[in-house]
């Protein structure tokens, strides 16, 4: 691959990359165009690939009909906090799993892996009862706690990979200089691992941002709803309001897209740091 590229090879490469780009972006383009059409034009035929009449009515309707601003804020708060806390907690556990050998280690790793296999529906009922007992139903803190638990296993395994690629001589030196283990971790290791930590946080954030079933189960009142729940409400209530729904979809996707746009370099960089090295 790294050898010389022939002209034909280049042409094939860029054709493929181009086609994929079109395929990858078209659905996003389409939902955006739909959201910007005049509500009366969405079902006009022939189908228009560009809005004949631009209209923000769908968006206005969204903020008028439902308190979409509140949902956005809720999602943002919950995802940011849960993502950050989960990253912090996972950093500690990942560090231990990377640096120490102990008897229950493989059992712990297995236990983390199993969490990924559990279909969430099996646990929703008991989780609701648990949260009722803890008085954390319909409470943003409650949702955050659950999200943190959801994020931890992966985040840990992922960060563990990064730790393993940082030579332990680094923190040993720091500890000889008198820092505690935690101090060494925070002051010496973390700065080195920044791309990996950013990547881990982004995964957590996106995970929480997109979560639907737990949020529907645990949140009741309108002022506590998150975006996916609200979006689900749009479809299931009376008609499939494709205009409002597209607008809601665009607003939902936007924050994660911005995040990805800024962080895509970090992600690859971060993952490369954790990847197999010769």
């Amino acid at each position: 691959m790294i050898g010389k590229e022939t002209t034909a090879g280049r042409a094939a490469k860029f054709t493929f990359l181009g086609l994929w780009l079109v395929f990858a972006l078209f659905p996003l383009y389409w939902i955006t165009v739909t959201s910007l059409k005049d509500p009366g034009d969405i079902f006009s035929f022939p189908i228009a690939y560009w809005p004949e009449r631009f209209s923000l009515e769908n968006y206005q309707g969204l903020f008028g009909k439902a308190d979409f601003g509140t949902y956005l804020v809720n999602s943002l708060v919950v995802s940011t906090v849960a993502g950050a806390v989960a990253t912090a907690i996972s950093t500690l556990s990942a560090y231990v799993l990377a640096r120490f050998e102990f008897r229950s280690k493989s059992a712990l790793l297995m236990a983390f892996l199993v969490t990924q296999m559990i279909p969430s529906f099996i646990a929703l009922g008991p989780l609701y009862l648990l949260m009722t007992d803890l008085q954390l139903v319909d409470n943003r803190l409650g949702l955050m706690l659950v999200y943190i638990a959801v994020c931890i296993p992966f985040c840990t395994v992922m960060l563990r990979g990064f730790f393993e690629n940082v030579p332990d001589a680094l923190e040993e030196a720091a500890m000889i200089d008198g820092l505690s283990r935690l101090g060494a971790l925070l002051r010496v290791l973390l700065p080195v691992m920044r791309p990996g930590i950013v990547a881990a946080f982004i995964f957590n954030f996106v995970n929480c941002w997109n979560e639907l079933f737990l949020s529907v189960t645990l949140m009741n009142s309108d002022e506590n709803k998150t975006v996916p729940t609200a979006l689900n409400g749009f479809i299931s209530s009376f008609n499939i309001d494709w205009g409002s729904m597209s607008a809601a979809a665009v607003l939902t996707i936007l924050p994660t897209m911005v995040l990805f746009a800024f962080a895509s370099r970090h992600i690859v960089q971060g993952l490369t740091a954790g990847a197999v090295k010769g």
């Binding site: 005049d38 509500p39 009366g40 969405i42 079902f43 035929f45 009909k65 439902a66 708060v77 919950v78 940011t80 906090v81 950050a84 806390v85 929703l124 009922g125 609701y128 009862l129 009722t132 008085q135 139903v137 319909d138 409470n139 943003r140 803190l141 955050m144 002051r187 700065p191 529907v216 189960t217 009741n220 009142s221 309108d222 002022e223 506590n224 729940t229 689900n232 409400g233 479809i235 299931s236 209530s237 009376f238 008609n239 499939i240 494709w242």
Partner: protein, 431 residues
């Protein structure tokens, strides 16, 4: 530098957590907070309920009501979870199909005693009074209105196709819808129900065809005690119904449920739709069709000229786990009488529970006229009780829906379908 950034981030996180905490506000002394959960949620209805609740709170300054509106798709499931946990819900929306299992599980409070002497009873229609008691005389909910089918149709398309009036029978519906149907120009005859609740319209057709012989106390039985599905007329009905799909409905309607059907009509592509009155409100807001392009007609009839109106209902009830039952009953009373009830049934286009509505001009005009016609002619538009309260109703729904889908996909003949349904109900009722 970096440390400061980290500290800042941590601080922000902590602040956000605290904001999360602050939502747990302690109750003010002396006031009672009721949690009210709706199930057939839609944004406009939620707004209306909030307004009604505000009125209630004004009248009862010591009671606060918190409305919980889960997305419709998850609502009943969520309600079940709440009821099971025994907390978080005081007043709730109870439907004719949920009242059986939920009361059986001991989740609902029998309001019978509390409502004795309630002045609202006299104002209710006979149907409403009947629906608010189960077969053992217990009151688990007071209905807020009724859902019944009528035929939404496009007056302009009917005229263009050369007909002078909307269809009155299923056969006419088939004829007109087939004529209008033209998939190549995105014009469809009938908004077929093939997805969730597909069986409801299918049984409506069967009931219309056996209207002469049906048992008024049980819509799935004939007067001679056999099921309606065993009647030869039922086969005629299903064959007609299958044709309606093949000749006059969009192919994708094999998967259509409530939202898709309503959308199919209100986006202007489909000429006929059998739906509940609540759809009037949705269609009125349509940007694709104008008020002079559509109307409603009474539910189409079978060959005998009669039809069966399958009334469905829902209402407000109180949870057994509620710690404020007296206040909760008060709210149910408030919603079931006078101004609040009228506003709710008008706003959601429901067949009203109050007798006074018959004189209301609102129900005599426009799309509503067909409902009045139906109520005023009980000999032609029979009101028959459906066995919707049986414990196996959900199981039946799922099974019957799948069968209808199988039939339209050509994997089951109408005859096989009916034989299966007959066997199912005969078996269930034998126990």
């Amino acid at each position: 530098m970096r440390r400061r950034t980290a500290a800042l981030a941590l601080g922000t996180a902590a602040a956000m957590v605290l904001t999360g905490c602050s939502t747990m506000s302690p109750g003010e002394s002396g006031t009672v907070t009721l949690n009210m959960v709706e199930s057939l949620t839609n944004p406009a209805r939620t707004d209306l309920l909030e307004e009604l609740i505000a009125d209630f709170e004004k009248q009862n300054p010591k009671i606060k009501v918190k409305l919980v509106s889960p997305p419709t798709e998850q609502a009943d499931q969520k309600l079940q979870q709440m009821l099971q946990s025994g907390s978080g819900v005081d007043v709730l929306e109870v439907r004719d199909i949920t009242v059986g299992p939920w009361s059986n599980n001991g989740w609902l409070y029998d309001m019978k005693k509390d409502l004795t002497g309630w002045k609202g009873w006299d104002a209710l229609t006979d149907n409403a009074v009947a629906a608010s008691e189960d077969d053992k005389g217990r009151t688990y909910f007071v209905p807020y209105g009724f859902y019944g089918l009528s035929l939404f149709h496009r007056t302009d398309l009917i005229k263009d196709a050369g007909f002078d009036k909307p269809p009155a029978t299923w056969e006419e519906l088939l004829e007109q819808a087939s004529k209008i149907h033209d998939p190549s120009s995105r014009r469809y005859g009938y908004a077929f129900r093939g997805g969730p609740n597909a069986h409801s319209n299918a049984t409506a057709a069967i009931e219309a065809y056996v209207a002469d012989r049906i048992d008024p106390a049980n819509g799935y039985l004939l007067k001679d005690g056999k099921t309606i599905f065993s009647a030869p007329e039922a086969l005629d009905a299903m064959e007609m119904y299958l044709k309606l799909f093949k000749q006059a409905s969009p192919k994708s309607s094999v998967a259509w449920g409530y939202p898709e059907m309503v959308e199919g009509f209100s986006n202007g592509s489909t000429a006929f739709l059998l739906q509940d009155p609540e759809v009037i409100a949705t269609v009125s807001e349509s940007k694709s069709i104008d008020a002079d392009q559509w109307s409603t007609a009474p539910l189409v009839a079978g060959p005998s000229g009669k039809t069966v109106q399958p009334l469905a209902t829902a209402g407000w009830g109180v949870a057994e786990g509620s710690k404020h039952k007296a206040e909760a009953v008060k709210l149910v009373e408030f919603l079931s009488e006078g101004e609040a009830s009228t506003r709710f049934s008008k706003g959601n286009s429901l067949v009203p529970i109050l007798k006074a509505a018959a004189e209301d001009e609102f129900y005599r005009t426009g799309p509503w006229a067909s409902y009045v016609t139906m109520t005023e002619n009980p000999d032609t538009f029979l009101v028959v009780t459906q066995p919707r309260g049986v414990a196996w109703w959900t199981e039946w729904q799922q099974r019957a829906d799948t069968d209808v889908q199988k039939m339209v996909l050509g994997k089951l003949t109408p005859k096989e379908l009916l034989a299966g349904w007959d066997a199912y109900w005969t078996e269930k009722w034998k126990k």
